[in-house]
Symmetry: C2
Subunit: 481 residues, 2 copies
Amino acid sequence: MVAEQTIPEQTYNPVTPAIVEELKNIVGARYVIHGDEEKLEPFSHDEILEKAYRHMPDVVARPRTAQEIAAIMKLANREHIAVTPRGAGSGLSGGAVPIYGGVVLLCDRMNDILDVDAENMMIVVEPGVVTSQINEHVAPLGLFYAGYPMSLETCYIGGNVAENAGGGKAVKYGVTSRYVLGLEVVTPTGEIIELGGKLVKDVTGYNLLSLMTGSEGTLGIFTKIILKLLPSPKANVDLLCLFPSARQAIEAVPKIMTQSGITPTAIEFMDRSSVKAGCEYLNETIPYQNAGACLLITVDGASEQQVEREYEAIGELCLANGAFEVYVADNFTTSERIWKIRRNVAEAFAVISPIQVNEDLVVPPSRIPDLVDGMAEIGKKYNLFVPTYGHAGDGNIHSRISPRPEVSKEQWYQLVPEMLHELYTLTAGLGGRVSGEHGIGHKRKQYVPMFLTPETIEVMKTIKRALDPNNVLNPGKIFDV
Amino acid sequence: MVAEQTIPEQTYNPVTPAIVEELKNIVGARYVIHGDEEKLEPFSHDEILEKAYRHMPDVVARPRTAQEIAAIMKLANREHIAVTPRGAGSGLSGGAVPIYGGVVLLCDRMNDILDVDAENMMIVVEPGVVTSQINEHVAPLGLFYAGYPMSLETCYIGGNVAENAGGGKAVKYGVTSRYVLGLEVVTPTGEIIELGGKLVKDVTGYNLLSLMTGSEGTLGIFTKIILKLLPSPKANVDLLCLFPSARQAIEAVPKIMTQSGITPTAIEFMDRSSVKAGCEYLNETIPYQNAGACLLITVDGASEQQVEREYEAIGELCLANGAFEVYVADNFTTSERIWKIRRNVAEAFAVISPIQVNEDLVVPPSRIPDLVDGMAEIGKKYNLFVPTYGHAGDGNIHSRISPRPEVSKEQWYQLVPEMLHELYTLTAGLGGRVSGEHGIGHKRKQYVPMFLTPETIEVMKTIKRALDPNNVLNPGKIFDV
């Protein structure tokens, strides 16, 4: 797979000195990076560092306004050069990688919080705002933004919308798209359109808001984002539930979801190796020693009594379903310690083994025991290290699969395509998909046909062709048109 | 407006006897209605009975399977005839009216509940299932479907998805689209595609699920629908809060939403005339006599204690903000009596005045006092009866505007276009839209340009043209392409 990655033949024009001049005229000379390999290099990849997924841009432009972006898109269509929008570059599927070179359109200067509207419980932001800043801004008003992903401290909200990012609170609160009420969008052909507004309901025309959300920068560039906020929960408790085995922990998840009558805020799963990796990376200790796996379950609500009743019910369900210990974290410090471990699992594995594939599988929630079991079997068969962790309450399991010491680098690259084919066949057979929240980008696009029929993919491509007739906006992502 | 309604020149071929034969071959002769004006007439309109919005179909076909529908769409493209999908015909914007004649594709035979999946908290249904049957089916399992609209006892779930219907519980639970996890869709060109699945998260390709939801039968016909269910709330209370004036009631709404820290399940508004009309229509009495308006507020939750705490907090907020009385309905019978009045307001007004326009305006929640005030002024200026009621917690206000006795029928038809222009200018000025949940259909399409820019509409049309190149699926709805 990693080795197989090929980019279909380049069909774009080169970025000439005249085009660079025109970009400088549009955004200002100091906001154009060109002719300096070292300065361009950071824009050749996202968080996935494998060489196979990298590609250098010809030029980086850092616009400040929707009008500047529209002018760049008009230029790109006229000159037939590729434009790849980019936020913080914290993606995991290559969405922001300029695989055909051309222009990287960096949104870092568009980072204003434009309007905090407490009366409507909404916030209007530019795409370059770091996601965690939103909650810092609205917390004093008793409000919160529930759609944030795990990387909230580094990612940009524009990227969250582009990828329809998920997050730790999605079981109860849903993912990014539930909170996107309005967008100002520059289309692939350089028009500026307004979708939605400060409206919680709206059926005036097609729902382009949701089509744009998760379109991975292939259908439009967001220049203004209206997000819905919620009243902050008044109480919040985390349970760390230890189970003897991964199977027991994961089998408890659908039971908690259906038998408690409660919708928890989060149900995160970490197998033993994931907790261990996270703890060692952070030099942190939590009492997981005898556990084969754990669930990190959050309950929040409007009062302490309610939350207490709910976490007690859930804790008892866990104990009845095989947990041997349930720790209650009812203060911010303890909660944050545990969550920090969870948030850093991926980072930890990246340090342990730079050679790895990073998975984001999603299946119907009731099928996660089968998925996790199947992944363990694949690990045995290929002699690989297959840790599992992630958003078990949503059926979304992550893994960072890497070779065991006895597998050589050459063997690894040889076995990966076959192993992934087996993993995805298993996932598809369970009614699952290749990505729950990280996106397709160019990293997973060759596997999309294992999950969607040709007719379904064709409808998606038809929309892309119609809105981007010259295929200049983030080409080569999700599918080749 | 009503008088102005014009249908652009017919460009479809006639439905020949040979085409009728072919339809009979596809769905079976007994499931084709043709050549009988009386039997065809019910399919010439939806719940809006105005002559101006009616149009007779040439033929009605009642398919049983996706394959039959696909065959009909292939036929329609080959012969260039219009196809209008139809559910229960309970719409309010003309979505199911065959304004170019041709084939009405009636989904009433596709009414099976295919799979109740308690483990995943999902249900799989065909489009012709009556919406209330879903909750009847899943209630014994401790589950419920939260996306239903007010017309749940008559409407079909397929129509709910086509219109992205809203409902009485949308403040807390959102509208239909939040619950649509999967769709089997017949495309305008007659392909069968599968979108989503039993998945609560999925970013594998574009979000066509949400694009299809609310597309008013113009982008696809749904033949299988996977819906998300939630654990049933364990407790439920309704508050009937009486205010001296509409202004005071409506001004309390954003305060309840922001100051209570609680998200109520519903906040419905009825002005005095709406409560009166509903009560008289049902021969029901509730103690509204001294009230200028009332709010019907629902709170639900996982325990009686929690709900009690929440409704007490909200009741106190209402009293602090001008309510002179708050009645608590904490048993099913009393709740159902009050909700039945709310659900029957529109019916009641339809009986009082068959000449009327039916509005579904939506504005940012904080602007509803301005909208309701402005509507009262418009009523005074044009000598009209402008009752207001609806989903105040969502900023979605309904009205059935009708002439006062001293206004003649001729005067009414003359003043309606000017009056609506004024009403929509007001709504647009408040950041609002012409439809919050009823849809555009052909009834409101001429007003869409008052709310969306030409560039935004053009993107929508581009998608329609790309997916339905012969413009045969529900043509003339939302916009003319």
